[in-house]
């Protein structure tokens, strides 16, 4: 067997973008840290500006990085092996995201099934309740905390249900878009991808409306005890992921309009649609565990 039978290793050209990206993350972390301190403690400083500068550099870096990458891909410089690496890399990235949400789901389950009942005196904690939090009754959703903060529980009917439907449909249209791409039907591809994006944006609008409703009319806030904490952190991080997913899909939309992607060259599109399905699955879990149960 001669070595020539094997594909050459993909060795990319030198690129300045990784170190630019590191600088961007540095500014973002420093900026975000200082921004948090300044806004919550009422201090003056440049945290916000540093954060913005970092984000701007990050955007420039991403645009530059992906422009180079797309150019290399369109001129056929990528090996098949690299395509596989990208797909596997994306799957593992999504796995890491799953674990991030798992931490917050874990906090939700712990608070609900262990912390709150214990504070209410269950198991062998009668004295905890009696001495430390007299009069506190365990319940979920926790609308009255041991400290006495009260709030209202968010029902699952109405906006949340509508949002579930919107996201589920968008998952289906994203799938149809992918099928259309596989079959080379460009018009359908554009149509379904466009619909998916609109549904994503619709979801975000409804989500904002839900938050406004929670804050203004229900008194359900991030600070309303552990029910409000888990509610807003889980739905909030999910919303961020929907935002990111929508941005990815919009980029894919413009690339589709430019005639990019084919049956054999579609990693970016696939990655965006995987990400979209992942965001959907997380929402379904959220809907069950945060809203319904």
């Amino acid at each position: 067997m001669s070595e020539q039978q094997y594909e050459k290793y993909y060795v990319p050209a030198q690129s300045p973008w990784p170190i630019v990206g590191a600088v961007a993350l540095f500014l973002i972390a420093v900026g975000a840290g200082n921004f948090v301190i300044e806004t919550t403690k009422g201090k003056d400083g440049y945290g916000g500006w540093t954060l913005l500068a970092g984000l701007a550099i990050l955007v420039i870096m991403l645009v530059g990085w992906f422009r180079d990458q797309i150019e290399e891909s369109m001129t056929g410089m990528h090996s098949n092996q690299l395509g596989r690496s990208y797909r596997q890399g994306m799957s593992w990235f999504i796995f890491s995201e799953v674990m991030f949400f798992a931490a917050f789901f874990g906090a939700l389950f712990y608070a609900r099934m262990i912390a709150v009942p214990w504070l209410g005196g269950s198991s062998n904690n009668a004295m905890t309740n009696e001495v430390l939090w007299p009069g506190f009754e365990a319940m979920w959703p926790l609308v009255k905390t041991p400290g006495g903060t009260t709030t209202e529980a968010m029902g699952w009917f109405g906006l949340p249900l509508a949002n579930t439907v919107v996201l589920l449909i968008s998952s289906v249209t994203a799938h149809f878009a992918h099928v259309a791409l596989e079959e080379g039907k460009r018009k359908q591809l554009t149509l379904f991808l466009g619909v998916t994006i609109l549904l994503g944006l619709g979801f975000l609008v409804l989500q904002v409306e839900e938050y406004v409703h929670a804050y203004r009319e229900m008194g359900l806030m991030l600070t309303s005890g552990v029910y409000g904490n888990t509610f807003f952190m889980l739905t909030g991080f999910h919303g961020l992921h929907v935002t990111l997913g929508t941005i990815l899909l919009i980029i894919m939309f413009f690339r589709v309009l430019k005639g990019h992607f084919s049956k054999d060259n579609q990693f970016a599109f696939q990655a965006a649609s995987w990400y979209w399905h992942f965001v959907d699955v997380v929402w379904v879990l959220l809907f069950i565990f945060v809203y319904i149960l």
Partner: protein, 421 residues
């Protein structure tokens, strides 16, 4: 690497993230003041403002780790040379694969933990505050769900290194290769269900204490398999005692001591006595310093000639080994006794009866630190390309692709995949 640019990015993030953590020391109010475990409420109610910088630097370090780990996994899954089947892979590669999996699984959980600390401290949430329905113990659960796999992240590559070095200098193939792979995988899987052994004294139902006790003790089985296999590899081998082998032998003996004290700590009622004493400090320094750090030194002495093409100064290396070995035991062994006698950790002062032991611990500590200057001198000499040129194979019994290419390896090593038979 499969994704070289991402690898580059993940590398460059680290110095910047470290810079942020370091610079927080000079902030108003001082740096993070809650130890590496940042237990709530120390890190929430009682911490200073630099906590925000701590949180965000941990975030970008986590991003760096995850990117690095994805790269390792994808490279191993996808870029193995033709003929390099799974069960032919060097054990160092296997341990890294499993380590990288652990990293991807637990770094996001750490990110979640620091995020909750951030919002608890600055945005009025009460994940770790009973007044709002949360629980400080929840912090410990989340933290140790990350923290326990994290210590295996540090030790599994060490197991891989030792599994490369011992066969080389015993001139025998590794005993029980397949069992070594399965043992590594089961250690990794078990690491997800033992975290609360760090919390035996913080309050848990008895059933949970029992579960975490037995699950933890179970880990000693695959770990025992490993130690047995290393010893069996040496059995009737033509052993020579080059520097990497010396460190590997020290590793096997001293890591096993650390493993045994770990087994003692795993027993819940006994841990009630040992918890937060110097016995724990002795335990984890035996597994991490004479374990992980010694294996890194072994690895440097094993591969350094391959990296720079020159054999290092053997005299200095011997001095380094013996000084380190003796001083590290003077440093950590007495900690077992003061710990059993009740000296608590994380308290700068101690009762008078511990003074003599602490004197020896201090002497050992300084001696161990100074011994590393020998290592530094050796490395500087090696970097300046002094010494005898190294052959391709370097060690008589070395096996594996890296020993088939020149020392130092050419730029990019292989342009096309080499075929492994």
């Amino acid at each position: 690497m499969a994704l070289p640019r991402m690898n580059n990015w993940s590398f460059w993030i680290l110095p910047f993230a470290f810079l942020i953590l370091l610079s927080s020391l000079f902030l108003e109010g001082g740096g993070p003041n809650f130890g590496w475990t940042f237990y709530a409420p120390l890190s929430t109610t009682y911490s200073n403002d630099s906590t925000a910088l701590f949180v965000f630097s941990v975030h970008i370090m986590g991003a760096s780790s995850i990117m690095g780990a994805i790269n390792v996994i994808v490279t191993i899954f996808n870029m193995r040379a033709p003929g390099m089947t799974w069960m032919k892979m060097p054990l160092f590669v296997w341990t890294w694969l499993i380590t990288a999996f652990l990293l991807i699984a637990v770094m996001p959980v750490l990110a979640g933990a620091v995020t909750m600390v951030l919002t608890d401290k600055f945005f009025g949430t009460s994940f770790f505050n009973a007044a709002g329905g949360g629980d400080p113990v929840l912090f410990q659960h989340i933290f140790w769900f990350f923290g326990h796999p994290e210590v295996y992240i540090m030790i599994l590559p060490a197991f891989g290194i030792i599994s490369q070095i011992v066969p080389t200098f015993s001139r025998k193939p590794l005993f029980g290769y397949a069992s070594m792979v399965y043992a590594t995988a089961s250690i990794a899987l078990l690491s997800f269900i033992v975290w609360a052994h760090h919390m035996f004294t913080t309050g848990m139902p008895v059933a949970a204490e029992l579960f975490f006790m037995f699950a933890t003790m179970l880990i000693s089985v695959p770990t025992g398999v490993k130690v047995f296999n290393w010893v069996a590899t040496m059995w009737r081998g033509a052993i020579t005692f080059e520097i990497p082998m010396l460190f590997a032998l020290a590793f096997i003996v001293l890591f096993t001591i650390g493993g045994f004290s770990g087994l003692m700590l795993a027993i819940t009622p006994v841990d009630f006595q040992y918890h937060d004493t110097y016995f724990v400090v002795a335990h984890f320094h035996y597994v991490l310093v004479t374990g992980a750090v010694f294996s890194i030194m072994a690895a440097v002495y094993y591969w350094l000639p391959k990296w720079c093409g020159k054999m290092y100064d053997l005299g200095l290396a011997k001095w380094h080994f013996w000084c380190s070995l003796i001083s590290v035991n003077v440093l950590f062994f007495p900690m077992h006794f003061v710990g059993l006698a009740g000296m608590p950790r994380r308290i700068p002062d101690y009762a008078l009866q511990f003074a003599d032991f602490n004197k020896w611990i201090s002497i050992g500590g300084f001696a161990f630190g100074l011994s590393q200057l020998i290592f530094l001198a050796l490395l500087i000499k090696a970097c300046r390309k002094q010494g005898e040129p190294a052959t391709d194979r370097v060690w008589e019994g070395a096996e594996g692709l890296e020993w088939e290419i020149p020392s130092p390896a050419p730029y990019h090593t292989f342009e096309t995949p080499p075929v492994v038979k």
